[in-house]
Amino acid sequence: MSDARIEGYARALFEVARAEGTLDEVEDELFRFARSYESSDALRSALTDEMVPAGKRQAIVEDLLGGKATSTTTQLVSMVVGSGRGRDLPAIIDQLVARASSAKNLAVAEVRSAVPLTADQQARLAAALANATGQQVNLKTIVDPSVIGGIVATVGDTVIDGSVRTRVEQLKSRL
């Protein structure tokens, strides 16, 4: 899909969520869903297989998100998948998150950790990243076991890597 079309879908989702008054919640749920989508080959193939009817793909989305996310989030994802744009779902959602953060004058900070961060840790990490980058951040946390331990934070083009995985890789490389 072209950037313009991704941008168009992102803007549409953004406007719907904002109109519903659940932008923050929807944005967070969509972000998590996008990361799950990226990390799961089975989910990705199920939602992008054109041999699977659109209704079936939407049913899969509703089964996955029903009861775990807001109805707005479920409907928006279902709409995108039903329209055959499942392959571009992460890019659309990332665009939406960027747009939402920009609307709040925030920078998106993608934080990956091996274990979930507590609310207190998220707040302190957001403040630390704001101090480090000089701009307020919209913290998006992802639980990624491949990190092994520690945190990898990405703010724009800046990557702050304090993960055990990277240290192990560096150690292996040095050895």
Binding site: S113, L125, I151, A153
Partner: protein, 179 residues
């Protein structure tokens, strides 16, 4: 007077103790002349020829002796020169032999030194290569063992919750401190 005494003397005796009878003188002188002439006429040329031949033979003998002497002297000179040449040749051969021996010695020494340098260099290179190879093998083994140990440590869940929290807190503090 003397002639008279001669004429008055005994014809059977000589009139003088030195001089023969006159007749004898008269006949004897011409006869002697004839004989002398005949000798001169017929005996002189062969005698002269014989003398010339003898003279020639003696001269030839003298010439031959002189030639032999000259040849002998030439040969003596040649022999002396040859002897001198032999001496010079001997000296030259000895000098050449000395020079060749010196060259052989020098070349042998240089070759030995070069071979020693080459052997040293080869030994150094082999030692360096062996050392590097051993180092590489050691590093590879250490790396393999370290990787295996790391993988095993991670697989065993070496990072418990406390460790995870420590890492997260350390990251937050470090990011905040870098502001």
């Amino acid at each position: 007077m003397r002639l008279a005494s001669l004429l008055g003397a005994d014809p059977a005796r000589s009139i003088h103790w030195l001089w023969p009878e006159l007749k004898e003188i008269i006949w004897g002188v011409p006869a002697s002349l004839v004989i002398f002439f005949a000798l001169y006429k017929f005996g002189g040329p062969p005698a002269k020829k014989a003398m010339a031949a003898r003279t020639e033979r003696i001269r030839q003998q003298l010439d031959g002796a002189a030639a032999a002497k000259a040849q002998a002297e030439t040969e003596a000179v040649d022999i002396r020169r040859a002897a001198g040449d032999i001496g010079a040749e001997r000296v030259r051969l000895l000098a050449e032999a000395d020079e060749q021996a010196a060259n052989l010695l020098s070349e042998g020494r240089a070759r030995l030194e070069a071979e020693l340098v080459e052997l040293d260099a080869r030994a150094d290179a082999e030692m360096a290569s062996s050392s590097a190879r051993a180092g590489d093998e050691l590093r590879a083994e250490i790396s393999r063992l370290a990787n295996a140990a790391t993988d095993r440590l991670l697989a065993d869940g070496a990072l418990d919750d406390a460790g995870q929290q420590d890492l997260i807190e350390s990251f937050i503090q470090k990011v905040g401190a870098n502001a």
